[in-house]
């Protein structure tokens, strides 16, 4: 059952670590109802949070809470330092050349919208082509729908093949039409597909297009090096990578960020305000208006520290092992249809349908055994439409997931089938 790629030694080491890792996440001890332990298989929607992250925010509120940047008193200086140190950590984590290129946002969605409201509105005009893909999350579709309605930009989509990969031949053809922007997900939150981001970005740059990488699902699970990938913009959320809700980030190339008009207007994003005019502040503050999510930024930094302490390569390896096992077991179930490519081309996501049983019912019945999976269109309605289904059930894995949990999932699915038999 074990993957041939991992020598026994590694497996043992990893297994030991996972028990230690699980102890870091208080919620994993929770009983969903008396006697029923939580089996959390919904990390793609949002990850659980280790104590280190919870405590960092707790400690901030108990010891250092103050508004930042403008204050000279001790608390304000502490808060400012904590807030900016977190930015440095995040920059390092994705190998950004400088922390000034990390803009704090609420989430991936706001990061992408920020680009749509600034760079895109400053640079795209009617008829300009934007390339997306059929596997995008709504957050990388709707901002462009809005801009299309407002500006008359053109949208084209890289198709998804039956086995859940992007059709790069069509991509090539689309590139010949001189797109201005190519925006795509690094990893699909439904299919799990890990797209060849570097290759796709190189191809886009070759025709002069700007690129946005939706890294909401990749940065939590893989080592992502923005300089190596070459992306112009990268969007991600803390809550999917052991961090708190309410904060995300946008990475951008310096020249682009510097040339962009501001987004939200208000305190902190200004250098000077007169009654009738203002001058924007330097990066990254230019894009951070008003009192930011201070505690959340600090929690974000703590999440990055935590992930680093485990090691992104170890996390990816562990998830790969779990995913391979899960796909193998799921495939054995009669009437179960899996979506997305094989384990070697995807992250820790298993979306499936069960013949004759609605995904909602699957999720609800699994919940009775404490098994948390998600059911629905996972904010990727066009992708589901493509496959001719309204919804899927989705189990997803993270550093704290175990094979035992996969076994419980499998057992639970058999129970569902029985109930509807």
């Amino acid at each position: 059952m074990e993957s041939a790629n991992f020598p026994l030694f590694t497996i043992i080491l990893m297994t030991l670590n996972i028990q230690k890792i699980r102890a870091d996440f208080p919620i994993l001890n929770r009983e969903v109802k008396p006697g029923v332990q939580l089996v959390y298989l919904d990390s793609t929607a949002t990850s659980q949070k280790p104590l280190a992250v919870i405590d960092a925010m707790d400690s901030y509120y108990r010891n250092s809470n103050a508004n930042i940047h403008r204050g000279v008193h001790t608390l304000a200086e502490e808060a400012t330092k904590l807030y900016e140190d977190a930015r440095e950590k995040i920059a390092k984590f994705i190998n950004a050349p400088s922390a000034r290129q990390i803009i704090y946002t609420r989430n991936t969605t706001e990061s992408i919208n920020l680009i749509a409201y600034t760079w895109a509105r400053a640079n795209l005009k009617a008829g300009d082509l934007v390339i997306l893909t059929e596997m995008e999350h709504h957050s990388n579709l709707v901002p462009w729908h809005i801009l299309q309605a407002e500006r008359g930009i053109e949208l084209e989509f890289i198709p998804v093949t039956d086995n859940g990969l992007l059709d790069l031949d069509v991509y090539k053809t689309l590139l010949s039409r001189s797109p201005r922007l190519v925006s795509f997900t690094h990893m699909s939150n439904v299919l799990g597909t890990i797209n060849p981001a570097r290759e796709m970005i190189v191809m886009a740059h070759a025709v002069g297009a700007i690129t946005i990488l939706d890294a909401a699902q990749s940065i939590p699970h893989l080592k992502v090096d923005v300089q190596n990938l070459g992306a112009d913009f990268v969007a991600f959320s803390a809550h999917k990578m052991c961090g708190p809700t309410g904060i995300g980030a946008l990475y951008g190339r310096l020249e682009l960020l510097e040339a962009m008009p501001p987004f939200l207007g208000g305190g902190d994003m200004i250098k000077e305000v007169k009654l009738r005019s203002f001058r924007t502040n330097s990066l990254p503050y230019k894009f951070e208006a008003g009192t930011p999510a201070i505690a959340e930024a600090i929690g974000f930094g703590a999440a990055v520290d935590y992930l680093n302490s485990i090691g992104m390569d170890n996390i990816a390896e562990h998830e790969h092992e779990i995913t391979e096992y899960a796909l193998e077991r799921l495939e054995e179930i009669p009437g179960l249809k899996l979506f997305g490519p094989s384990a070697d081309k995807k992250g820790g996501v298993a979306a499936f349908t069960l013949e004759g049983i609605h995904p909602h019912d699957v999720a609800q019945i699994l919940d009775k055994d404490g098994i948390a999976v998600r059911a629905g269109h996972h904010c990727a309605q066009p992708l589901h439409e493509k496959f001719g289904i309204p919804a899927t059930s989705r189990a997803s894995f993270y550093l704290y997931s175990t094979k035992n949990e996969v076994d419980m999932l499998i057992q639970g699915i058999y129970k569902v089938k029985e109930l509807f038999a």
């Binding site: 909602h360 609800q364 629905g376 269109h377 309204p390 919804a391 129970k415 109930l419």
Partner: protein, 131 residues
């Protein structure tokens, strides 16, 4: 095994009595549950004294949404429209005989929302209809 999936619900889901379309009909309305893609269309025939003489639902979705549609249709045939207009959340929950969390509640109430939007002749179905 599970009160949420009482036999009656599974039964109405697997063998609905009122699935289908009515042609001609006097009232028709359809809507989705945006959260999960459940879809319900309801067709009504209305006779003298504004009595619902026949009704059908069509669509797809989870057992809760489809069973509640079947039970709802069953309950309104022969009823005056005025009474149908007064149906609320609790009536549907009584038909189902279960309690539901906020997310599944939307599944259960989709058919009522569609029904009332149709009966009231609204352009769009609103959650207010099923408070």
């Amino acid at each position: 095994m599970d009160d949420l999936y009482r036999e009656v619900i599974i039964e109405h889901y697997k063998n609905p009595a009122y699935r289908g379309k009515l042609d001609p009909h006097d009232i028709t309305f359809a809507d989705n549950n945006p959260l999960c893609g459940d879809h319900i269309q309801i067709d009504l025939r209305v006779g003298d004294n504004n009595i619902v003489t026949d009704a059908r639902f069509d669509g797809h979705g989870c057992a809760i949404s489809q069973a509640s549609a079947d039970l709802l249709i069953e309950s309104i045939i022969g009823k005056p429209l005025d009474e149908v207009k007064k149906l609320n959340k609790q009536d549907v929950l009584d038909l189902l005989g279960i309690d539901l969390g906020p997310v599944r509640l939307k599944c259960a109430l989709l058919s009522l929302k569609v029904l009332k939007a149709g009966v009231y002749g609204l352009g769009e179905a609103s959650d207010d209809l099923v408070e």
